[in-house]
């Protein structure tokens, strides 16, 4: 027999609103469908309901008349969707077969999680704890079917195998949400509990009440109409929010983005992975969209680094209008793993390294951080960078000795060279100058003659009276002199 776990959030709309704005938690809160005093209230927090506010019955004006301290916010579908996706991420962190129901409940194959959590009680506890990490007060339950698991989750219970009927029997009929007509008929029959309904023969009930009646009997017995239908759930981690007022300055915008990033980092952290790329979609006040992608040098979960990347991007290219809506999507990626060697010095921890590289990329530019790579060219001083993985190399014999190396001058610095009988005699340029006291050369270098970047140069090593030893060249085409390196 299969075992299904269910994770759900009672009052999802309220929970999602409180997740997006933690200051709302604990307040008498009502959500309206639209703005204005005539908009109907569609959800209310426990404190608002205690004061008499009833969703579906009252308008905003009526609710405010009932409870003067009521806080009313328009319902935000984007925020609710983000909350449901966060619940899916929580389930996906413990199981691979997951189905998200239309009402926001998430079902998962409890047997698939047994290798991570030994007991079903432990699984329920882990689900609730992880949901709390992403800012949702969820409940979890485990049962033999989705129906049982959902009802168990509402009570925060685990129903052991074989005890489903006993668990369902005392529950009221409203737990399976019957059609009002069917509910009235069953009420007339004296069927008030699920146990009463489960005892009736399904075929006979089907004859009298139709297929819906038979389905109701099967639900009362804890049987599902269909098995769990797993869905692909992994993709970009997305958080969205609609703003009450348009934002036209960067600091408030970053404040809101920080909240979105905070929630994304919490979701990504469930799997111990990082963010490799951010995609920011801004809904503007002029009804247009501003979409931009921010690549990161390495996967990271460091909130400060991610926020700095966003700030730099927004400061470099400010949106053309005020912002009323924003969606931030993060592409998750594994933080590079490294195997430490018993006889090697410990290198940087992969996650710490990723964060460090991302911070350095923000400081210096992404193309200015990495492992140096020689370029396959005859042009001296050419360089490129490759992604730095921090791979620890095997210990090997030291090369030994000390060599004079060339410090590259990028870009080559133009200098004036005065020659005596075709030999360099005096050099003058920015930051250097003097009589030539030692020289070697010339060496002719002709490279990339087949391309636009062709170069034909005569190279000299010149020791000047200022103490420096320079690598200079004369362009054959222009007869101009440059310094492109200093021996040091």
């Amino acid at each position: 027999m299969s075992r299904i776990a269910c994770l759900l959030v009672p009052d999802l709309a309220i929970a999602a609103a409180c997740r997006a704005d933690p200051d709302l938690a604990g307040l008498p809160l009502a959500l309206s469908d639209g703005v204005g005093t005539h908009a109907p209230v569609v959800a209310a927090s426990a404190k608002a309901r205690e004061r008499g506010v009833t969703p579906g019955r009252h308008t905003v004006a009526q609710a405010r008349a009932i409870a003067a301290d009521l806080v009313v916010r328009p319902r935000d579908a984007a925020v609710e969707r983000s909350a449901v996706l966060a619940l899916v991420d929580v389930a996906a962190s413990l199981a691979s077969r997951i189905e998200a129901a239309a009402d926001g409940a998430v079902f998962l194959d409890a047997e698939g999680a047994s290798h991570l959590v030994a007991t079903e009680t432990g699984l329920a506890t882990a689900l609730v704890a992880r949901a709390a990490r992403v800012g949702l007060g969820a409940r979890a339950g485990v049962g033999a079917s989705m129906t049982v698991a959902r009802l168990a989750a509402l009570r925060g219970d685990v129903v052991p195998a074989g005890t489903e009927l006993g668990f369902l029997a005392p529950l009221p009929l409203s737990c399976v949400a019957p059609d009002p007509t069917l509910a009235a008929t069953l009420e007339r029959w004296g069927v008030r509990r699920l146990g009463d309904l489960a005892r009736l023969p399904a075929a006979e009930v089907g004859t009298r009440l139709g297929p819906a009646g038979a389905a109701l009997v099967r639900a009362a017995r804890g049987e599902d109409e269909r098995p769990l239908a797993p869905q692909p759930v992994r993709g970009a981690v997305e958080e969205a929010i609609s703003l009450e007022f348009a934002l036209d300055t960067i600091e408030p915008l970053l404040f809101v983005l920080r909240g979105l990033l905070d929630r994304i980092v919490a979701r990504v952290g469930l799997d111990g992975i990082g963010v490799a790329r951010l995609r920011l979609v801004l809904g503007l006040d002029d009804r247009s969209r501003d979409e931009r992608t921010i690549p990161l040098a390495a996967p990271t979960r460091d909130l400060k680094t991610l926020l700095t990347c966003l700030r730099i991007e927004l400061e470099a290219r400010p949106p053309r209008a005020a912002i009323v809506r924003m969606t931030l999507a993060a592409e998750p990626a594994s933080v590079r793993a490294a195997q430490l060697g018993l006889f090697h010095p410990p290198g940087p921890a992969p996650e710490q390294l990723a964060t460090t590289i991302a911070r350095l990329a923000v400081l210096c530019g992404p193309d200015r951080v990495g492992a140096p790579v020689p370029v396959d060219t005859h042009r001296p001083g050419a360089a490129a960078v490759a992604p730095f993985t921090g791979a620890n190399g095997a210990t090997r014999p030291s090369p030994g000795g000390c060599h004079l190396v060339v410090r590259a001058v990028r870009p080559p610095r133009p200098v004036e060279v005065f020659c005596d009988r075709d030999r360099p005699d005096f050099v003058r340029g920015a930051g250097l100058g003097g009589r030539v006291v030692g020289a070697a050369g010339p060496w002719r270098l002709v490279a990339e003659w087949w391309s636009d970047g062709a170069c034909a140069r005569d190279y000299y090593d010149l020791e000047l009276s200022d103490g420096g030893i320079y690598r200079c060249y004369r362009e054959q085409r222009s007869a101009r002199w440059f310094v492109d390196g200093v021996y040091d």
Partner: protein, 222 residues
């Protein structure tokens, strides 16, 4: 008898430890790979400390830094090379023996950014050697205490390569390349080949040993 004395010196003599005082950690060393220099420094550059390598242009300070970095990568260390002047030539570095895959090359756009980058790299931990190769560190006077603390916390050797020493008392070791002789394959004034440079290194400052010693390192063209 001397072996027993050496053992007591390394482990501590009975009664040496005062209650309530922590025994200072022994300073470990990052060997430079140059036996003359290692012998003069007592094993190499101190880990968790700032070492300054200063000297005028073309005295071989970059070559010496490359030799130290090459030896560190050969021993499996991950290193960082912070290069605000964008002066590192990967081809020359590889010829000097540096394993490029173990080298994080950071090219900040200013000295101030370079000092900040050094602090970030040191803070990450796991880097055995961080080379800060700059033409000037004067703008970073306020950064030295932070860099010294970060290096000490992560046990990394911060090697500052600059024309002159600027870290003051925050540097545990100061090496100065004071004089040199350029070797040409022919007499000066005639066209020939640059063979190398003889660099004279003076231990100008040492908080963990005796300063003042001078030694000569012969550098050949790669």
């Amino acid at each position: 008898m001397s072996a027993a004395r050496a053992l007591l010196d390394s482990l501590g003599r009975p009664g040496d430890i005062r209650l309530g005082t922590a025994r200072p950690d022994a300073i470990t060393r990052l060997p430079t790979g140059l036996s003359v220099l290692d012998e003069a420094l007592g094993g190499g550059l101190p880990r968790g400390r700032i070492t300054e390598l200063a000297g005028p242009r073309s005295t071989g300070r970059t070559g010496l830094a490359c030799a130290i970095a090459a030896h560190a990568t050969a021993k499996g260390e991950t290193i960082a090379w912070i290069d605000p002047a964008d002066a590192l030539d990967p081809d020359a570095a590889a010829k000097a023996g540096i394993t490029l895959a173990q080298t994080l090359w950071v090219r900040p756009r200013s000295t101030e950014d370079a000092l900040r980058a050094a602090e970030i790299v040191l803070g990450a931990g796991g880097f055995g050697l961080v080379v800060l190769d700059t033409d000037s560190t004067r703008s970073g006077a306020g950064r030295w205490p932070r860099l010294a603390r970060a290096a000490e916390r992560t046990r990394a050797t911060l090697l500052v390569v600059a024309p002159r020493r600027d870290a003051g008392t925050f540097a545990a070791l100061g090496l100065e390349l004071t004089a040199r002789r350029v070797r040409w394959s022919k007499e000066p004034g005639q066209l020939g080949l640059l063979e190398g440079v003889d660099a004279r290194i003076m231990i100008a400052r040492s908080r963990i040993g005796r300063p003042g010693r001078t030694l000569v390192v012969r550098q050949a063209c790669a």
